[in-house]
Symmetry: C3
Subunit: 259 residues, 3 copies
Amino acid sequence: MESVSYPDPNIVHDLGELRRLNPLTQCITNVVVTGFTANVLLAAGASPAMVIGIEEAAEFARIASALLINVGTIAGADSRAMLEAARAAHEHGTPWVLDPVAAGALKFRTDVVAELVTLRPTIIKGNASEIMAVAGQDGGARGVESTQESGDAIEHARSLAARTGCVVAVTGPIDYITDGKAIIAVPGGHSIMTRVTGTGCALGALMASFAATSPTPLRAATAACAVFAAAGERAARASQGPGSFAVCFLDQLAMIGAD
Amino acid sequence: MESVSYPDPNIVHDLGELRRLNPLTQCITNVVVTGFTANVLLAAGASPAMVIGIEEAAEFARIASALLINVGTIAGADSRAMLEAARAAHEHGTPWVLDPVAAGALKFRTDVVAELVTLRPTIIKGNASEIMAVAGQDGGARGVESTQESGDAIEHARSLAARTGCVVAVTGPIDYITDGKAIIAVPGGHSIMTRVTGTGCALGALMASFAATSPTPLRAATAACAVFAAAGERAARASQGPGSFAVCFLDQLAMIGAD
Amino acid sequence: MESVSYPDPNIVHDLGELRRLNPLTQCITNVVVTGFTANVLLAAGASPAMVIGIEEAAEFARIASALLINVGTIAGADSRAMLEAARAAHEHGTPWVLDPVAAGALKFRTDVVAELVTLRPTIIKGNASEIMAVAGQDGGARGVESTQESGDAIEHARSLAARTGCVVAVTGPIDYITDGKAIIAVPGGHSIMTRVTGTGCALGALMASFAATSPTPLRAATAACAVFAAAGERAARASQGPGSFAVCFLDQLAMIGAD
């Protein structure tokens, strides 16, 4: 397995570009993490816009710099807005990220996710169970949590990427990102991030922002993972528990790259 | 009135069990508190899953370790998902908690709550006005706030518990929990908790988590109240206002019991 | 242009009245900011109630002390609840605030906002692009952000206020509030507030709370802006980034006026 750590200079440059261009990032995400996701994008230097209604979602996907679709709390009406927005993004060339939360664990969302995948997300981002489910394997999800290690899903991620043309990111203690050929490993972060809701979901949103400003989707997904890992490590050192971690994490996201 | 303080050794043991078993807790709750509720469960040691769509809610209630239904921001479609999930939990034996937010103050939710009660929640948790409304009394609710003291609702709670077979918890400066026979008083906490949104709602979610791992529903509700009271007292001492309180509260929830 | 800074003694008095009367403030707002909005109202001394379902919104608008309608994440069903609640408020005399988030940028919400304006909000609050759009100008909105300075919208705001009878507040580095005759300028706050989601939305909610307890809508909107500006300045001094700012801001809101 070819495994390359992402070189730091590019991350710093890509983060500078993100901040300079301040990409307008439409987020159709779950109701648990909307506020935190918006705050993560604002702290990092992007501009969130939660335009979610069926009457507006597709119209906005043609205006926005990037789109995130996260199926975490999907219900019927949401799924139609998601599909229309993804179709508009696909047709219009707006880069978009799919976060197939708990795919494989529940039939309805698994079907919606399969339909969304046909609309060619720029990046598919999930934990090992989710990526395996999207790749057609039994990922053994337990609700929104993975029962698999990210490393176990690498080969499924690579074949999914090769088959669909999407970049695939498998998150975990080490994140793996692949375009079907290269595989990039991003270590770092901190285990406390699994005890703060929305860190994974916000990472998907930041991937969308980077997809609007980075030279390639592979680099976009990698930059988002690397920024999260670095901010997470710093915030873990500066905090006493999951409450103060979430606060410090936003502060660190805003500071990172200036040093 | 028989009033027994809950003995500490059991709480510590029950909290240890909660953390060991990490119960998957489905939350169908209001949109104001979803993020805070998830963070409270994660900090305490449970695993939240906000599966709320009508297409999935009942399916997941059969997989989950426990279920919370909180009617805080109920609308028509939500109410159908709540009823289906509660029915699935009831039939499948999944313990579930009902938080009848503002029952009595508004007709629609009062009717939905009455129907939910027929599906035998394991625990009904509310402030004095809400519990009195569920018990068929005029509780005089003012929006989501109680106009009654928790002590005033004890006898209504006891008769409601005796009649339905549910454990009933009345929250307030002192929380009272009853299974229709015993009444347990849990003092503690801090008045600043009334100035942070979601503390009461997250308490209902933690009761659901404990209901999956504690030996009895009475002990589950009591353990959740006691953990909240202790973490609330500690966080009040370590914070400067309602913003820092919420942060410290999550930190303290994660630390509590280790000492 | 007549420009008057709001005199401090009135603010302190109005804030004292808000806290004494603790107005029950119904918020039909976007899903990104519900939790933060509730926490802002609780910290400042008001009582939030997010009653949003079509089955209850109008009923509650007759009970509540004030109503906020914020169209940030509007979808079809929400818009009907908003219109019914606004109609109930209008007929019953409940003061209500309209926050036309991203009006002008998207057709559906622009139409709903136009219909809401016919129901005579007590206060219309928006950034320069939004107020210009409501006034029938091309405001050049970029998603939820303004591309205009607040000062550029003053004359549009004044004519909108004169035509509709609403007080109009244009937010920005300097906030301008007008009843069609007087124009009040409220400087202050801090640029970091633009990097924390929900500060603008929560300001609209606090205007609604003040509208229930202040002698005039002009004074209500001004008091909310002034309280936000002062708490924002203090919080900026006490924080390290956008995460800690949001926490400090709630703490400062609770403390302000006691000194």
